[in-house]
């Protein structure tokens, strides 16, 4: 079960026993809230204050260096939704996130179902499939960048197995560069989705599946009618993780393609980095970040409500 909802529920149902001079099987005194102050100080300094300031600076033309700036209202946002480069980055961000979500969940689910029962090599394979998740993304990006060069290992391998016709200038072609980014991200994180699906599969009692088998349902039918609906929670968690991760993705694109060729793989994350730190347009960069923040927030809330509804029904 997803306890994202359960764990996060404030403990309002517990009887209030603090205050009023009563002691005993009680909540600790309210004074104990000072325990939270150190964490709140770091959180406030590094997240809350800069986020609020960012929200305000998005409406200015600040260059990040000079002490002065002008309030420009919604100009930065108007520019985002009128210029080709930012609209393409916005589209690419959505395409990347959705493509990664679909593919990574499909691969993760296949791996999990494949591993779930009976294999002698189950534990070894689980460790192997998960290993890329902990490897530094910069390293993964460089490794694949080398393998995808025109005379790299991927083309070499294709030629060796008689598929030489499929050889590409992977990162030199706009479409294939985008495909490569998606494949690499999926390669790195599929093991994460797999682990969550495996946990979901383990929570399904074998009797349910057996009952369906006794009723004459074939393997395919058993999966779609019994197993898949019971994996709803795992799927929700996975979709949420991959979507948000996909929206925020920076390192993979920045290292692998730098947003190229010709801006074909530029996302909001890489564009906002470049705007702020290479083109000295802090205000515009923060406006881009805010657009990204809104997208992430909308999808997170939608997912959260969806998963809560599932948990209730």
């Amino acid at each position: 079960m997803s306890s994202v909802g359960t764990a996060a529920r404030p403990a309002t149902e517990a009887p209030r026993t603090d205050g009023g001079g009563r002691r005993g099987p009680a909540a600790p005194s309210r004074k104990l809230l000072w325990f939270a102050l150190p964490a709140l100080a770091f959180y406030g300094f590094a997240v809350v204050v800069p986020t609020l300031r960012g929200g305000a600076l998005a409406f200015t033309d600040w260059d990040g260096l000079s002490p002065d700036y002008n309030v420009v209202g919604f100009d930065n946002f108007a520019r985002i939704f009128s210029s080709d480069s930012s609209l393409e980055a916005l589209t690419m961000t959505l395409i990347f996130a959705f493509a990664i979500t679909v593919l990574q969940n499909a691969v993760g689910l296949l791996l999990a179902v494949g591993l779930h029962t009976g294999l002698k090599t189950r534990n070894v394979l689980r460790v192997v499939f998960f290993a890329p998740v902990v490897i530094t993304p910069v390293v993964v990006a460089y490794l694949w960048k080398f393998m995808l060069t025109p005379d790299g290992a991927v083309n070499g391998l294709l030629a060796a197995v008689g598929l030489g016709a499929l050889r590409q200038s992977w990162l030199g072609d706009p479409t294939w560069a985008a495909v490569s980014v998606v494949m690499i991200v999926v390669w790195q994180h599929a093991g994460y989705s797999m682990v969550i699906y495996l946990a979901g599969l383990q929570s399904i009692s074998p009797e349910v599946i057996e009952a369906a088998a006794v009723d004459g349902a074939g393997a395919w039918r058993r999966f779609w009618s019994v197993t898949w609906p019971l994996l709803a929670t795992a799927t929700t968690i996975n979709v949420m993780l991959t979507l948000i991760g996909g929206f925020k993705m920076f390192t993979e694109v920045y290292v692998l393609t730098g947003g190229g060729p010709g801006g074909a793989t530029e996302t909001l994350s890489t564009l906002l980095y470049k705007s702020a730190f290479q083109f000295d347009q802090f205000g515009y960069g923060i406006a881009l970040a805010l657009v990204l923040a809104v997208i992430v927030a909308v999808f997170s809330v939608a997912q959260y409500r969806l998963s809560n509804r599932q948990a209730v029904s």
Binding site: A39, F42, V128, I135, Y142, A153
Partner: protein, 273 residues
């Protein structure tokens, strides 16, 4: 109950082939890093005359010794700080049922939704103004702030499953709040502390964007940024680059293989609190 049938065997073979897709790139990585510069054969062919000269070159030219040390310091200090402040904060937030307490809790959780890119740019200016730009402390402070919501979320979820009788016993014995926390609560939190340590350590060690921004232009680098600068210089000499990559992921992989069961369940369970 479960028999090893032909079907299962076929599935096992398919899964082993799938594993090749995951193993092959890593094999190529290691294979190439051991290869002399003049060896231009296919990256798939096992190296015939392995050499460690690439490792020596990468170690010296990428400044990896200093970078590894910096990454270790940043990761270690950040994780300890995150564990201390998050577990402390979670204690009253999980136990006190007042309105103030639950408001604070939800405000902290909201932080999990905010993409940190919004804060990244204004914070850059603040760090510059207080003179922390280029210092490892900037990273530590930033990671502590950024990782607090998720860590508090994990700790409070776990704390609510712990009965209060333990603390009561301690308070009857006359222990103050801080001592009760230190000697009774914190030890009980050990399982979730493990999860918090693992998830945060991997996040911090692997992070690229934050050190790229906050340390750029200084001699102080973490591993990821050192690699980025190094590859920029040696992009045509892949064996040396790959040796550098291997060195940088070795600590992570060693820890991963030693603690794989714990790490995988940390990732899978991290969400469930």
């Amino acid at each position: 109950m479960f028999r090893y049938t032909k079907g299962v065997f076929a599935r096992e073979v398919v899964m082993l082939l799938a594993a090749l897709v995951f193993v092959l790139p890593v094999y190529i990585l290691v294979n190439l890093s051991l290869r002399p510069a003049n060896d231009a054969s296919s990256p798939l062919r096992p190296v015939t005359a392995p050499t460690f000269s690439n490792y020596v070159a990468a170690w010296e030219q990428a400044g990896l010794a200093g970078a590894l040390l910096n990454s270790a310091i940043v990761t270690g200090v950040s994780v300890v700080l995150i564990v201390v402040i998050s577990s402390m904060a979670a204690y009253p937030l999980a136990r006190i049922t007042s309105k103030l307490s639950s408001t604070v809790f939800w405000l902290v959780l909201a932080g999990m939704l905010i993409p940190f890119q919004v804060a990244l740019i204004p914070l850059y200016q603040t760090m510059r103004d207080v003179g922390l730009l280029g210092s490892l402390w900037a990273l530590v402070i930033l990671y502590a702030g950024m990782q607090v919501p998720f860590s508090i979320f994990l700790y409070t979820g776990f704390l609510r499953t712990i009965p209060r009788e333990y603390e009561e016993a301690a308070s009857i014995d006359g222990a103050g709040a801080l001592r009760t926390f230190r000697s009774v609560i914190f030890p009980l939190l050990r399982p979730v502390t493990g999860t918090v340590v693992i998830l945060n350590a991997i996040t911090v060690w692997n992070d690229f964007l934050v050190p790229l921004l906050y340390l750029s232009g200084t001699a102080r680098q973490t591993v990821t940024v050192a690699l980025y600068a190094f590859v920029g210089q040696y992009v045509s000499n892949w064996p040396i680059v790959f040796a550098g990559l291997v060195i940088s992921i070795l600590p992570v992989l060693v820890v991963y293989f030693l603690l794989q069961r714990r790490i995988i369940s940390g990732f899978a369970g991290g969400l469930k609190g």
